[in-house]
Symmetry: D2
Subunit: 338 residues, 4 copies
Amino acid sequence: MIIVMKQSSTPQDVEEVVGILKSRGLGANLSTGSQATIIGVLGDKAKLGGFDFELLDSVEKCVPIMHSYKLASREMCPDGRLVQAGGEVVGGKKLLMIAGPCAVENEEQIMKAAVGVKEAGATFLRGGAYKPRTSPYSFQGMEEEGLRLMRRAADATGLKVVSEVVAHDLIETAAKYCDMFQIGARNMQNFRLLREVGRSGVPVLLKRGISSTIEEWLDAAEYIMSEGNYNVVLCERGIRTFETATRNTLDVSAVPVVKERSSLPVIVDPSHAAGKSRYVLPLSLAAVAAGADGLIVEVHPNPAEALSDAAQQLTPQAYAALFQKVGAVAAAVGRSME
Amino acid sequence: MIIVMKQSSTPQDVEEVVGILKSRGLGANLSTGSQATIIGVLGDKAKLGGFDFELLDSVEKCVPIMHSYKLASREMCPDGRLVQAGGEVVGGKKLLMIAGPCAVENEEQIMKAAVGVKEAGATFLRGGAYKPRTSPYSFQGMEEEGLRLMRRAADATGLKVVSEVVAHDLIETAAKYCDMFQIGARNMQNFRLLREVGRSGVPVLLKRGISSTIEEWLDAAEYIMSEGNYNVVLCERGIRTFETATRNTLDVSAVPVVKERSSLPVIVDPSHAAGKSRYVLPLSLAAVAAGADGLIVEVHPNPAEALSDAAQQLTPQAYAALFQKVGAVAAAVGRSME
Amino acid sequence: MIIVMKQSSTPQDVEEVVGILKSRGLGANLSTGSQATIIGVLGDKAKLGGFDFELLDSVEKCVPIMHSYKLASREMCPDGRLVQAGGEVVGGKKLLMIAGPCAVENEEQIMKAAVGVKEAGATFLRGGAYKPRTSPYSFQGMEEEGLRLMRRAADATGLKVVSEVVAHDLIETAAKYCDMFQIGARNMQNFRLLREVGRSGVPVLLKRGISSTIEEWLDAAEYIMSEGNYNVVLCERGIRTFETATRNTLDVSAVPVVKERSSLPVIVDPSHAAGKSRYVLPLSLAAVAAGADGLIVEVHPNPAEALSDAAQQLTPQAYAALFQKVGAVAAAVGRSME
Amino acid sequence: MIIVMKQSSTPQDVEEVVGILKSRGLGANLSTGSQATIIGVLGDKAKLGGFDFELLDSVEKCVPIMHSYKLASREMCPDGRLVQAGGEVVGGKKLLMIAGPCAVENEEQIMKAAVGVKEAGATFLRGGAYKPRTSPYSFQGMEEEGLRLMRRAADATGLKVVSEVVAHDLIETAAKYCDMFQIGARNMQNFRLLREVGRSGVPVLLKRGISSTIEEWLDAAEYIMSEGNYNVVLCERGIRTFETATRNTLDVSAVPVVKERSSLPVIVDPSHAAGKSRYVLPLSLAAVAAGADGLIVEVHPNPAEALSDAAQQLTPQAYAALFQKVGAVAAAVGRSME
């Protein structure tokens, strides 16, 4: 941490700050410039016990230097982590292709979706069984029955299952059906849930919160990893901005930023970012071109009749076409679909 | 709902839309202007079963007309709701004044805080026992012991207790100590938690999510109210914007907007909005001038040594001064402190 | 400036940075912590001639320490500047009350507006003669004839005139009619215009850009002041955020932040922030309670027939009522209306 | 336009609205649902003369239906416009590749840059001669001498010239040296400047404002086109959001959205979006994959010594490598570099 003194600060003010540091077993390194005195804090900041130097009138500001995450950082694993999920390796040359409906609605729907996405080339089936909905009066999901149907459809087609867990007491049940848990954007800072999926040992797909910074997102990954579960895949799904032409604004830059700061793989959800099915293809291509390790795309056998998020789901045919086009871009940037 | 057809749409396109509506038992009202045909949907939108007209190439856009919340709306209770919490009435002439530390740290600290805020004139003591922290390595709260200490301090000084619940399985324990539950900003869309605090019957202070729209916030209140618990107080605490001079941007306009759209009382948390104690007073005055029904302010007997959010907590002395100044503005806008 | 080295940096890397600094006549102060080496740069940063240390692989980040504005800073004038405009003093106890229509539309309209706002108690008449409109097909203003009518109405009623200049070649003409120039939000970074109004010597009301940080706003003020014109009044008018309930989000916190960082007075425009006339009163009260030095409010003799921004203009009667209520809050915070 | 009445509105309220419409020569189409009455306005909205129905207590809201831009719309030119600039065709299969330094600094620098970007394959040279800088104390550009040097370098290497005009009285001078004018993000709503570049007849590269919606951007294009100049190329360059990891957030979704709503070509500026040279490559690939018609990239012979924006400029070598990789992605999506 660096403490920047105000221009109007006196040598006594500087001494006071240094004294506080010393009384807590910390060192201080003074840098007296023409415009401001800067104090570098030497030692473990935790010794400060929460003391906030910005409370002193003589202090202009404190500047943190280090990330708060460690296990999720690039430094801890400079070559990048290869995450294992359902027998797939995520973060290598091959892209992780996940597809399926927003919500499991009935046996026929999920089976048709599974057949369609499998034929297109996907390896993971997605589908919501517990739906976090903005209004209490919207369809809330089929719950465990939905998970059961999804598992059956996946087994019948040779797919793996990823589904969202929305509360920690559902983890045990969900673990019976899922190869990977999804933590949704709204729960990215539900720290109790993060810890518990960490303890479960099940691989986790961690979506970025709609208005979370990349640093907060990596801190959330750290919660899971600090419980010993390193199989975490990050998922960028659009952030909230002033622009209303799309449901959210896909932060495609997050892909190279995450690659630089973290060792974890990062995939992209173009469906939630766009909110409109006609933008899903260009955003998918952009994501893979930018270096994403995979895509999670909403596919429904009959989007127009979907019970939720109808506007952003693709038909299996459209997904098959997308898969081909993504393959061409993937090849152009040195990645592969299989 | 209104469906706006594209300029390029044909009479056949319009017929298709009308046909879909009729097949689902809904009526259509056509308005053919010089530039676009507009179709007003007559009947209960739920009959559409999720069909999304924006998927049709001939449709420009769909415009929702109604709020999704009902119980929380102004229409349901035009004169405004008076919320009961710990024997206090919220939403009337008297302001709800809540104060206390960010987190309960030990017996002496919470007792000193309680004595200080009681002397200043507050009626509710706040204090976090379960702290949602961005990093897993930060202080996470004293948990039930913290609630116990806070209850004791409140009883000793004649205050009521409000504290945050961060998971639904903590509700039963927390209910033993709290007169009011707080739902924090990060949990505003933790729908399971919202339902469960709704079922608990305990009054709820519902903070606005850091990037939630006012409509989403009222939808969250609806979750609680739909379980039969109408004792909900809203709390504006700043939203995330591009400006970094303050921790968040206090959306003071949310106060009159909420008053217009909802019957629920709304208070303001200037401490989290500002993030710096020196801005807490002006924001408190602004909130009350704008019509807020109360304030929740962070007060710590020794802010510089606080274990969390040190920079934004006031001393009891500063809070007493704030209380007096808020009283003057309250009187100027027809409100009172007692 | 502070240079933070990466954890992986070597002593050679540090030497390289120090060498670059020395070769440009700058000093370096090293602070070697357990986690990172930090280099404080000693001397005038301008000597770096644009060299960017973040380009070096061994550098984590560079942290600027100083503001780029000087004349606008609080440090240069710790007691605050009293701005002179049209015989009024801005920044003292008395609030600057500006009111008038969005645009000058005709002689009768501006005269009625002037009479109304004068009777209510305002001292300055506002009105747009050159209107920056989003669409080229919207009403663009009466231009010089509008200024002439406004001047006449102001002289007849004993008011002063403030009006927007939108291009530097209009300054000479506008100076014939105006006591104060307004720089609109869209032109806050039209640096050519800022310099030229600086040279004109006419007092300036500088609106904050819709997505400008407070630092950028003060840098814009610096452009005007660097030409020798210190009569600058800042105006907060709402920023662009994700919330759509109001036209913009009034950043009421900007008032105390500006007061702390700058010596310039700051007023608030609740009309553009709210975008709806029914929110103008609560936002006006909030602004004055937060410490604003005045208000600029849109008032039209017949808002429903206004040629622009109809929804946010008050009637003269509503403004008179607002003026009284603002007076009560002003008194409560130690300010006055006259 | 659609007028939505409040649920509490009476038949008399509806009659009042209809009466106002009729008195202005407009028709009304009523749609009375179970929850709200909706009035479709028939005829040219301009006849309303600015009357705002939201001022009536009985009106819930007004919903605009049509864009305000016409010439820039897709409807006016469904196959897309091919823009002519400096002998190049923009908007066809071939990508427009623009590169060069942030600012022209001296003859050697711009000549080296020109040679480098030409060798890599670019067709247009960029370089700022008049720099809009946040602080008045930063380097402001070489002005006309900069344009002269850039023209000479372009002619010597067979490139075309694009450079920013920052004020309307510089257009005549700039037209002597430029094949295309750039309107910078800060001037996107400098309507006087937009009209004047429209009148100049010189092709225009119109950057999106840092916090402008896509609709406002297309309205800005309409200003230029409404003066008869249809050679407009749009340029997405990142928007301002809460995320600080990158200088701005590249809104890559804007590419397909613009393609759908407008007939104009759209290119991307990854340098300003990223703000860091190491993110320029992935963002370039993402932009082209999403369908952008070209790229404008900052290239400097010696980025570390650049007088402005040093951190985001590439070396000519890095640009040559980027050009090759962009070519591979371009081919994968059916575009070409020549």
